[in-house]
């Protein structure tokens, strides 16, 4: 320890020689090696001019991570300081968060919009405990997040008291059931290699969060023998294509189908993926049901039949599933609340599943969904496999073009039914959810737009013309409440520099899990249009209470006890304004929504967050 210290005079004298050059794969010393002298023994004279956390910042920079979302915490204080001062708080930039759950959910939304991971910094104990639910969401949504945890492994160096509460033998143990990989590096070189390995693992489909622990003393101690430290070159893994013979077999099965339906969930990773989905669907002239885990297929395309899934499955003799999270649930159902089984598909329907789900092997959490027998199971990334699959379909000589006009008519009929359904109660107070969606479209339709959460209210995916992969970002993954607001802010951050306007229809209960993310949006100038779906309840749970009361032959009028968020009503506009966010509401008159949204979008286009609170129907 003592020989790591530099006296202040020597340090200042040598400071001018500090360099910041990073070779492509080798870090050179940043500070000229100063002459050392015996320490005076006064603690205040000790200076560590080149802590290990500086090297950690070099490593993080080498991955291309642009942001680190975090609540500040002592177990990574050195890394925090290095990010800010040594790294210049740029790539990565430190994002000040109000809850670790917000940090991770921001990273979750960011990754889906940016196409690459964000970093998250958290205490190895209480921080990861706060973060856990959001990590589980990201796990279930197959989204990469680079988690870093601070921890003092060497008990001999821990300060007494709180620091012991905030240390843990095995930080990864908190999350290991729902992260892809974790490591607790024992040296800086180990850290560099583990970060690169973790980044590769996280971004290789099926993408998932990973956790790297940054040991507190590794952060705070001076770097030893820096010339020997190497930051390994980062080369991302090319996603795997399904085996060619199996894809040909799938093409053959589909070519012979009478009623074929394609069901896609987390299939497209990019706009190229959407294009490839269209090419496959057109080659087969087959209807596509987009389950919306990602934006897979244009809502405007005549083969989009996302609302007709049940009927299409019922009549299908072949179903092609593309990275579907719950394949069993597409072919079968269990009623609620009676739990009665019902088959939806024909008993002899042929099912093909192209997925990487079989590459994920965890036991405890049940996100694998019910086992679904399959006639042809192909391990492969959908987007990478589609060109070969489409080529195999074309080579099979399939000709299904004769049904085009019928399919066009069915698509038009689906759209007309949706609009007719949306018209019901259009002028109602509280405001209908269809009206909410239609009003939001009016201010987005002239923009490059992104709806950061597109399934809690599905009207937008059903009504809006959407053709771009960035339009819809799907959902939380595990339905863990508290995702929507922070994920939307993270997505808006990624979209900020792309000229994409980000909006979200924000449930009230979800916002109240960690409303401090509004402050984060205001502080970091993250432009987002947040339209409150304020039904003043945990509405899903109201309905569950009713179902149980009906099942138990008990009274229904108590269903809002423990489920309603009223008496007093929450002033969401006030909540937002208190944190520096422009806001209006609560709005109860449907006619007042449009003008408020115009004012809000003007703020967003100036680079500010804005919130419009609308009191809505339950669903």
């Amino acid at each position: 320890m003592s020989d790591e210290g530099l006296d202040r005079r020597t340090f200042l004298k040598s400071a001018a020689a500090v360099g910041t050059t990073i070779a492509a794969s080798t870090v050179t010393a940043q500070a000229a090696t100063p002459a050392r002298k015996e320490p005076s023994g006064l603690p205040g004279e000790k200076i560590i001019g080149r802590p290990g956390s500086d090297f950690m910042v070099d490593v993080i920079k080498a991955t291309g991570i642009e942001y680190i979302a975090s609540n500040p915490a002592s177990s990574f204080r050195s890394l925090h300081e290095s990010i800010v001062n040594y790294g210049g708080n740029r790539k990565p930039e430190f994002l000040t968060c109000m809850h670790e759950e917000s940090s991770v959910a921001m990273a979750h939304g960011y990754a889906k919009a940016a196409g690459k991971p964000m970093g998250v910094l958290a205490h190895g104990t209480v921080g990861l405990q706060h973060a856990a639910m959001a990590v589980y969401n990201a796990w279930c949504d197959r989204v990469p997040v680079m988690l870093f945890a601070g921890n003092f492994m060497d008990a001999a160096h821990r300060r007494p008291g709180v620091e012991w509460y905030h240390c843990v033998q095995d930080p990864g143990g908190i999350l290991r059931d729902y992260i892809k990989w974790d490591d607790q590096p024992a040296s800086l070189q180990h850290f560099a290699e583990s970060v690169m390995r973790g980044y590769k693992f996280a971004t290789t489909p099926p993408m998932e969060p990973v956790l790297i622990t940054a040991d507190g003393m590794l952060q705070e101690h001076a770097i030893e023998d820096e010339a020997k430290l190497v930051i390994p070159k980062l080369t991302l893994t090319v996603p795997p294509q399904g085996e060619a013979g199996a894809l040909r077999e799938a093409a053959k099965m589909m070519a012979g189908a009478e009623n074929l339906v394609i069901i896609a969930d987390r299939a497209a990773r990019t706009q190229e993926g959407v294009k490839r989905m269209v090419e496959l669907a057109e080659a087969l002239n087959a209807p596509v049901v987009d389950l919306g885990g990602r934006m897979n297929f244009p809502t405007t395309h005549y083969l989009n039949r996302s609302e007709d899934g049940r009927a299409l499955v019922r009549d299908a003799d072949v179903v092609l599933m593309l990275e579907v999270a719950d394949p069993w649930g597409q072919l079968n159902t269990i009623s609620d609340p009676q739990h009665q089984y019902r088959r939806l598909a024909k008993p002899d329907v042929k099912m093909i599943h192209l997925t990487l789900a079989d590459n994920l092997m965890k036991s405890n959490y049940q996100d694998a969904q019910r086992f679904c027998p399959c006639d042809l199971s192909i391990s492969g990334d959908v987007e990478a496999s589609l060109p070969a699959l489409t080529e195999a379909v074309r080579a099979s000589g399939v000709s299904r073009g004769g049904r085009t006009e019928e399919l066009r008519a069915q698509h038009r009929a689906m759209k007309e039914r949706t609009r007719a359904a949306a018209a019901n109660g259009f002028d109602a107070t509280p405001v209908s959810t269809a009206r909410l969606s239609a009003e939001l479209w009016q201010v987005l339709k002239g923009e490059k737009w992104c709806l950061a959460e597109s399934r809690l209210l599905s009207w937008s995916a059903r009504l809006w013309p959407a053709t771009e992969h960035y339009n819809f970002l799907g959902h939380a993954g595990a339905a863990g409440v508290g995702y929507t607001a922070p994920a939307a802010v993270g997505a808006a951050l990624a979209n900020r520099d792309k000229g994409i306007v980000t909006a979200v229809i924000q449930p009230d209960g979800d916002l109240m899990y960690a409303p401090g993310v509004l402050w984060t949006a205001a502080h970091h100038k993250i432009p987002i249009l947040m339209l409150m779906h304020n039904n003043r309840a945990y509405h899903q749970e109201v309905m569950h209470l009713q179902k149980m009361a009906g099942l138990h032959n008990r009274r229904m009028d108590t269903a809002r006890i423990g489920t309603a968020i009223e008496n007093p009503n929450i002033d969401y506009a006030g909540l937002a304004r208190a944190q520096g966010v422009w806001a209006e509401g609560p709005i109860t008159d449907p006619a007042a929504i449009g003008p408020a949204l115009k004012r809000a979008i003007a703020m967003v286009k100036r680079g500010e967050p804005a919130l419009v609170d609308v009191v809505t129907q339950g669903r």
Binding site: N424, G425, M543, N553, M556
Partner: protein, 119 residues
């Protein structure tokens, strides 16, 4: 769902001639519709809800017998509202409330629902 609805309508139609709707108060019915939480799934004006919520009740309200059957001994996912906790008069009032509803405007008359399709 369609088969279920048709069978309900068949029996309901047969019964309708013998069992007209009881008299009820639309005003009391609105209060009961809210009190007994019908609106949480079906919307305050019977417009229906999204994803896991209830279907729309209007237009084409079930005939009284079918409506009553579905409320008391529901098929599918709706909770059962039995007489112990929703009296006959309350149910009749709710039915009167739903019958009193004005039809929603047609899609063609709602400019906000005219979405442009690119292809």
């Amino acid at each position: 769902m369609i088969r279920f609805s048709l069978s309900i309508l068949f029996f309901a139609s047969a019964a309708l001639a013998q069992d007209p709707p009881p008299s009820g108060s639309a005003e009391r019915g609105r209060e009961a519709f809210l009190k007994y939480q019908c609106y949480t799934c079906h919307g305050t004006v019977g417009q229906g809800g999204e994803r896991g919520a209830g279907p729309r009740l209007l237009p084409n309200l079930f005939p009284w017998v079918a409506f009553s059957m579905q409320t008391r001994t529901p098929r599918q996912d709706m909770p059962a509202y039995r007489k112990d906790h929703l009296g006959d008069q309350d149910l009749a009032d709710i039915y009167a409330y739903l019958r009193s509803m004005k039809p929603s405007p047609a899609v063609a008359n709602i400019p906000l629902l005219n979405f442009e399709e690119k292809r």
